[in-house]
Symmetry: C3
Subunit: 344 residues, 3 copies
């Protein structure tokens, strides 16, 4: 992105103070900004950086009064944070538009695969027989779209993602690098006599609805039969394990390194911390919040429960019990002394 301060001011409806012709190429933080960057000052505890920054342009509020002369061009706006969001979105869209919309000559798209309009398929990517990719979707390099898998419109699928046979990704989804959709569920039946495990065939699939985002190296297993379902608007962080036949409700967010065991059903609008474990076949009510590192071992009726501990309990109660736990040796010692004194 190359744009002058004056051009940008017009786009974001800002008032210019300083050189209108200075060129901006990228956004930056005020404490790190170099020449050619645009930054912002909203929180006044960062004001001192304004007087030394190398940035070419700084967004400030209409009311802000610098204590001394400043080097960069100032762009005054009504809502600094709001404008930053707008600016970053413009910047990111601009970057994305630079990516070529085309099928790389190094990609393999099998004859029976169907591609929508304005699709990009990256180098060494594979779209297998019977698979489909919707309009405006970007499939980056080295991605695998398996037989009969379907990816919707307006998605971004980053390098190294694997979407296996028969799985379905909705519209406006983002899958970060090395995500795996549709590995086999972990299902084995032990032979009663020998203890040797026989594989239970996993013939279901995974369905991601619209506006789902999945973090790097997260794995979502296919259902044994039927579908593992991630509802619209769900956001999954990196390195999460979602087992076979799980269902996750709309707009639920889950932080990194959490594991959800087979057939668990998580309601809508839940907030689940990092490194949480959720046992198989649990049903978690809408709006449940689970503290990082907790272990949910049974269904939660909720709604809007706050859980902590392993096994889980009401989180404020966990903190109260833990506060006592921290002082246990001293508390016990005191009780014993007093008992001894009483016992004479």
């Amino acid at each position: 992105m190359q744009i002058t301060a004056a051009q940008l001011a017009e786009m974001i409806n800002a008032r210019i103070e300083g050189d209108p012709d200075v060129i901006i190429t990228a956004p930056a933080k005020i404490e790190e900004a170099g020449p050619g960057t645009i930054t912002f000052l909203a929180n006044l505890s960062y004001e001192h950086f304004l007087y030394s920054t190398q940035a070419s342009v700084v967004l400030v509020s209409q009311e802000f009064k610098p204590r001394t002369k400043v080097q960069p061009t100032l762009l005054r706006v009504d809502d600094v944070y709001g404008t930053v969001g707008q600016l970053l979105a413009i910047y990111q869209k601009n970057e994305a538009d630079q990516t070529r919309r085309a099928v790389s000559s190094y990609a393999v798209v099998e004859p029976t695969a169907r591609l929508g309009n304005n699709v990009r398929i990256g180098k060494f990517a594979v779209v297998e027989d019977g698979a489909s990719v919707g309009d405006n979707t970007v499939i980056l390099d080295q991605v695998y779209i398996g037989p009969n898998a379907r990816v919707g419109a307006n998605c971004t699928i980053y390098p190294g993602v694997r979407i296996l046979r028969d799985c379905v990704v909705g519209n406006h989804c983002i899958l970060h690098p090395n995500v795996v959709i549709g590995g086999d569920g972990f299902g084995f039946a032990p032979d009663a006599e020998t203890g040797v495990y026989q594989k239970v065939p996993q013939v279901g699939n995974v369905i991601l609805k619209d506006h789902v985002e999945v973090g790097s190296c997260t794995t979502i297993d296919r259902a044994t039969l039927g579908s593992t379902i991630i509802q619209a608007g769900v956001k999954l962080d990196n390195l999460i394990q979602i087992a076979h036949n799980v269902e996750i409700g709309e707009n639920t967010v889950i932080a990194a390194l959490t594991g959800v065991a087979g057939s668990a059903k998580i309601g809508a609008n839940c907030r689940i911390g990092g490194q949480v474990g959720i046992a198989g076949h649990c049903t978690i009510a809408e709006g449940t919040q689970v503290q990082a590192q907790s272990g949910v071992i049974a269904s939660v009726k909720g709604p809007d429960a706050k859980l902590g501990g392993s096994p889980h309990m009401h989180y404020p109660d966990y903190l109260r019990s833990y506060a006592v736990f921290k002082r246990l040796p001293g508390l016990l010692e005191d009780i014993r002394k007093r008992l001894k004194a009483l016992e004479g």
Copy 2:
């Protein structure tokens, strides 16, 4: 798979009630089954679905008596669950047979690599110098088989798996997408004066014996010297970390997000839950069960111990202690009141 009810009935030795010529293309759950699918009714709490299902064929027991007329063709068998397993295995085998047995023209197999009979090598897969792949093994797209690595017969290696230099995979193994076999062990020696870490060379390998299955994004590090060994029949879930020089005994199963630190030795037939940590150099006896999220910090003599907590303890004892922990603030309050009353 396209088959008529009559053809299937002959294969699974079923008795037909209804249209024998209806065509089946896929299995499904009774509550979700659409036209062209086959489903089953074993648990009678699902019976009401039978009267509304769109499925073309339903497996039922010999004894089952519908309360009213049913639309789908019924196939009566002696053991419904057993037949479902048989059916899914037929379906999955059939799907696998459709995959072309050949070396893709987009794969690179180096001149000194050796391929068995009936091997498939997928697009953008690499088999490096000195590597070998056994009979009937399917190497899917974008897999990496490093120099001198060996993969046995009848394996399935999914897209994005990396099997590094000198590592060995047995027969009948399944490696799910993005698994890493043979990354360097995490070994560093700090310089006593500067605190800077020097890498300890990792020149061993990883050996997977027969019938091992490894879940998506699981990582198994090579030994510093010698081998990290996964014995026959071991089943590892997704996102598991197995460190250098670990040994895991036959038919042990480990759930997702568990970490096993360097040189730990886990016995046969253990059952280890998700998010468990096992400390380095521990020896865990045969048949040990470890509850999810526990931390095993020392050797376990067992056999057949049940562990929970972090650091680990006898699991039933952990639950008893935890039950008291949950009530600690109230219990302490009560004791204090009674002590005060006694002290006058």
Copy 3:
């Protein structure tokens, strides 16, 4: 590597006893060593293996006196362990030198990418527009180096690594298979009315300084704005999550499956165990040690604190409290009995 005992003796300044012409091809552990291997005897509790080993050559100390005649050629050195390290480094260097220094004809290096001298780019690897790779760096097969990403000199980047747009890797770094550098940070703003999450654009990058090593499937997210920074000499194990805008100080080591949340700052020379969680925006002082499976939920002033538990506390105190926890049911029972007796 093929070398005779005599040639090796000269390289490591050893004294030969036995056949000087025996050929060595690989190192091995004494209890597993086969013909053609070299092994060592330093810890005398392994001495009995010396009399049965199939190894061709064994390193021993100058002083060591075998109890009986031995089959392998002995190489006597002053410092057995030191020589083993030297030997493994020679062996590994030798293996690495065999890898061809060249750009594979199956790789794609875009026209505006810049490659240093003596660079290797593996098969199906991609180096995108504006990216650069420093001298002597080895990029293995199926790696992705995104637009404008920079990789320094003398690095090894293993198969399946993804280094996304604008990210920077220093010199002498090692990235193990399927590592992801620069996936988007996990940033979403909920719509106050609908609960639907809007993506916060993530336009920063990731910077790895020199001598950083990153384990298989570890993920490091790009900063929202600015950089996620991994300082020189940091060693990260497998399956670690480093969130957006985190900074990790020099020579800090982190074990597998640990998660560091957004904007946390970890000091230099910390030692962080496996499966640890560190909350967002915490500052952890230099030299802090964190026990495996702990949860650090607030800043740690330190230096050199030792932490355990979740939420974290002083680790020795955690162990003392936990020792009481293990005995809680019995302790409570005893207190109650004594109270009852006193209350008459």
